[in-house]
């Protein structure tokens, strides 16, 4: 497995602002993923962020709203831009070790937009 940390753990932000969430892994990994978990809901994949290539976004998510950086094999950031109350969610990063499917998750960032 891997040890994954996220910063911040939680934040309260005003609408119209942006927040950047950091994800740090204790080992080098190729595959990193960003998910959104809206209140009382399941996880929805936002994008896949592999080092050395552009992030791949899922249907319904766009780069202008959720820009992602992946500068090296242990770190990634997700920015939630021009936030609205509908962006209030838990944002989780995960890494794929042996395969894309076997993923290990960070503790999440709880975002509240007022």
């Amino acid at each position: 497995s891997a040890v994954i940390s996220q910063k911040p753990s939680r934040d309260i932000c005003q609408r119209g602002t942006s927040l950047t969430i950091q994800c740090q892994v204790d080992s080098q990994v190729t595959m990193m993923f960003w998910y959104r978990q809206q209140p009382g809901q399941s996880l929805t994949l936002i994008a896949t962020a592999n080092q050395g290539s552009e992030a791949t976004y899922e249907s319904g998510f766009v780069i202008d709203k959720f820009p992602i950086s992946r500068p090296n094999l242990t770190f990634s950031t997700l920015t939630v831009s021009n936030m609205s109350p509908e962006d209030s969610s838990i944002y989780l990063c995960s890494v794929g070790l042996a395969s894309t499917y076997e993923q290990y998750f960070g503790p999440g960032t709880r975002l509240t937009v007022t």
Partner: protein, 116 residues
């Protein structure tokens, strides 16, 4: 496209009783199947996985799950629950999406409450 159904939104079980959480999937080929647990305020922890081979898989914390192809199911079981098992449980299927990329698709989760 692949999908996962967890029919039970909320289950309450007495401590020491047995547990079964249901999961049904939809996918044209043999899927990769997973169970994750999310404790309050925590991220997701992988409980167990099925890739191939023996259809009864053992996981951490005394959990097991059985893959039944004929029923498209991957139910999670535990013979005797502990109060610390109270959490949200997610079933997931790993498959190739309509866009051609590999991804995990999660069910809506089952909240488990343990009563003394």
């Amino acid at each position: 496209a692949q999908s996962v159904t967890q029919p039970d939104i909320h289950i309450t079980v007495s401590e020491g009783a047995s547990l079964e959480l249901r999961c049904n999937y939809s996918y044209g080929a043999t899927p990769y199947l997973f169970w994750y647990v999310q404790s309050p305020g925590q991220g997701l922890q992988l409980l167990l996985k099925y890739f191939s081979g023996d259809t009864l898989v053992q996981g951490i914390k005394g959990f097991e799950a059985e893959f039944k192809r004929s029923q498209s199911s991957f139910n999670l079981r535990k013979p005797s629950v502990h109060w610390s098992d109270a959490a949200e449980y997610f079933c997931a299927v790993g498959a190739v999406s309509n866009f051609g990329n590999e991804k995990l698709t999660f069910g809506t989760g089952t909240r488990l409450t343990i009563i003394p």
